[in-house]
């Protein structure tokens, strides 16, 4: 039996990952989905249960990673009464930040603080809780960091997103060095047809919007289901070097 938590499961890639996981986790497994929208989470749950009725328990936890004071309650709910000898944590929740602002315009430290709380602090603190709950080596543990090509290559108007992803990649690389018994993977899902993509495409910055149109004309924007499938193949084959940064292509 496997315990698997996916953050940002109310839509987009998180939803696709949850649906792909259904049927692959084994009898008696539990899938915990977190997100800000209960409605979205319920829809994801419906799709999961439609795919594999009565095989796994799906638990929904609503909450916002932006608020660190809410983490203790949120995390306790995620990890209440966990079963299994396999545990997987998929850090998928993420936000873009204000794309209209260039790096040199990010003068408000409160806004920066909120951004890094949502996209960096939450993943670190949640990983700490995950490791505390599933301590000891009898449980096979896997941690996935949903990353991006922008963790490596700077992208204009995406300074918050790029820097958050770069930070996450390094954090999980260090984790892989320190914890050889934990399988750690940073996965770049590629550009996908999701709400996040539509936010980028309509951000009002011509350079960015033109970039999206170019990618579309080259057929580079995928269905998140395909990217999720690729991730699960990587996890099932289990040949990646722990701490590696791999992408969908």
């Amino acid at each position: 039996a496997t315990f698997c938590a996916v953050t940002g499961g109310s839509r987009g890639l998180g939803r696709s990952i949850a649906v792909q996981l259904a049927g692959r986790l084994g009898e008696g497994s539990r899938l915990v989905l977190t997100g800000r929208s209960l409605q979205g989470l319920q829809e994801t749950k419906r799709l999961v249960e439609e795919k594999c009725p009565n095989q796994l328990e799906v638990r929904l936890v609503t909450g916002d990673m932006q608020d660190p004071t809410a983490y203790p309650t949120l995390f306790s709910e995620i990890f209440a009464n966990t079963p299994g000898n396999n545990a997987m944590m998929i850090h998928n929740a993420g936000t873009l930040g204000d794309l209209s602002k260039k790096a040199a315009e990010h003068s408000d430290p409160q806004i920066l603080n909120k951004y890094y709380a949502t996209n960096l602090t939450s993943a670190i603190a949640l990983t700490a809780k995950f490791m505390e709950v599933f301590s000891g080596t009898s449980v096979r543990r896997t941690v996935v960091n949903i990353s991006s090509g922008t963790a490596i290559e700077p992208l204009e108007h995406h300074s918050l997103y790029c820097s958050g992803k770069a930070a996450r990649n390094m954090f999980f690389k260090v984790m892989a060095e320190e914890e050889p018994d934990v399988r750690v993977l940073s996965y770049s899902p590629g550009p996908m047809v999701t709400d996040m993509y539509y936010t980028i495409k309509s951000c009002g910055v011509k350079k960015v919007e033109d970039g999206c149109r170019v990618m579309e004309s080259q057929g580079l924007i995928q269905n998140p289901d395909d990217s999720a499938k690729h991730l699960l193949i990587l996890l099932e084959e289990d040949k990646f070097k722990s701490g590696a940064f791999l992408d969908v292509f």
Binding site: P68, T69, Y71, K102, A103, A104, E105, H106, S107, D108, P109, Q110, L112, N113, Y116, A117, L120, T121, S122, I124, A125, T127, A128, K129, F130, M131, E132, A151, P154, L155, E156, H157, H158, S159, C162, S163, G164, K165, A166, A167, R168, N169, M170, F171, K173, V174, M175, A176, E177, E178, E179, G243
Partner: protein, 279 residues
């Protein structure tokens, strides 16, 4: 498209009439984390090089140590102004109050060149492993000091100097750990990676700015001693001990002078990362 620096063009033209950002041009310099270590060394190295009438502002968390930095810098040149400002950059409110304070003391139109050296930082609790960083308030405070404050300070600095129409250089003090994972340094690696990336994006977006990420090399400072003693991993402690015993730790004054030399030559590509060890 590479925007050539004025210096590079003039060097290419045979070097005649070449002036680097510091010579004969009054500079307004801000250095963070200047109470000790590398920040202090940078303040002193700048004091040695900047033109008459320049102004160096040093930020730090220790008033007494800031006064020592001030004394050492003043000793380098009586013709420049040194201002020290006390502030803890791990608190969100501090970046705003720094410039509110400076507005009363500094008129950017008095200067020709502006320089900000983002040096303030901490290594985090190295006695903790990655999975022991469970306190969100501590993490917030860490990323406030090491990432958010450098970014917001830079934005506010640029806003502050804009009325003067100055040429502007921004330095981000970085390290190997921005790219090389190191046990016990998960927060340090993450913070430095975030900063480097932030300044690389900035360099792409702002071709008129000169942005340099400078890796000063492993320095002989209190920070290193702390890690050598407190790191949870024996290999990490041993690695630093070995560096120290083999005289591989660099004198921060030497590294600071190298940084100032790079700034004088002004030949670096904006957004580039330059190491102390590069010739």
């Amino acid at each position: 498209m590479d925007v050539p620096t004025l210096s590079a063009v003039k060097m290419a033209e045979g070097g005649e009439g070449w002036t680097h950002p510091f010579s004969k041009r009054k500079s307004l310099c801000v250095v963070t984390g200047g109470s000790r270590g590398f920040g202090r060394s940078v303040a002193v190295a700048l004091a040695e090089e900047v033109a008459r009438g320049s102004h160096i502002v040093v930020l730090g968390r220790n008033s007494e140590s800031l006064r020592d930095t001030e004394k050492l810098s003043k000793a380098m040149s009586p013709h420049i102004q040194i201002t020290t400002l006390f502030g803890d950059l791990s608190k969100c409110s501090v970046t705003g109050s720094i410039f509110a304070c400076l507005r009363f003391q500094v008129d950017p139109t008095d200067y020709d060149h502006a320089l900000l050296v983002n040096n303030a930082g901490s290594v985090g609790n190295v006695s903790r492993r990655t999975w022991e960083h469970g306190d969100p308030q501590e993490l917030d405070s860490y990323f406030n000091l090491n990432v958010a404050s450098a970014v917001s300070l830079t934005a506010k600095f640029l806003e502050f100097v804009r009325p003067g129409n100055l040429t502007c250089t921004i330095v981000n003090v970085t390290c190997d750990e921005a790219h090389r994972p190191m046990k016990c340094h998960s927060l340090y690696c993450a913070g430095k990676a975030a900063r480097e990336m932030m300044f690389r994006v900035m360099a792409q977006e702002e071709p008129h700015l000169r942005i340099l990420s400078y890796n000063p090399g492993p320095l002989e400072t209190e920070l290193k001693t702390t890690v050598m003693v407190e790191a949870a991993d024996a290999e990490v402690r041993e690695e630093i001990r070995r560096l120290r015993d083999d005289n591989q730790l660099i004198d921060p004054d030497v590294s600071a002078r190298k940084l100032v030399q790079l700034l004088k030559e002004d030949l670096f590509k904006s957004g580039e990362i330059v190491n102390f060890h590069e010739s």
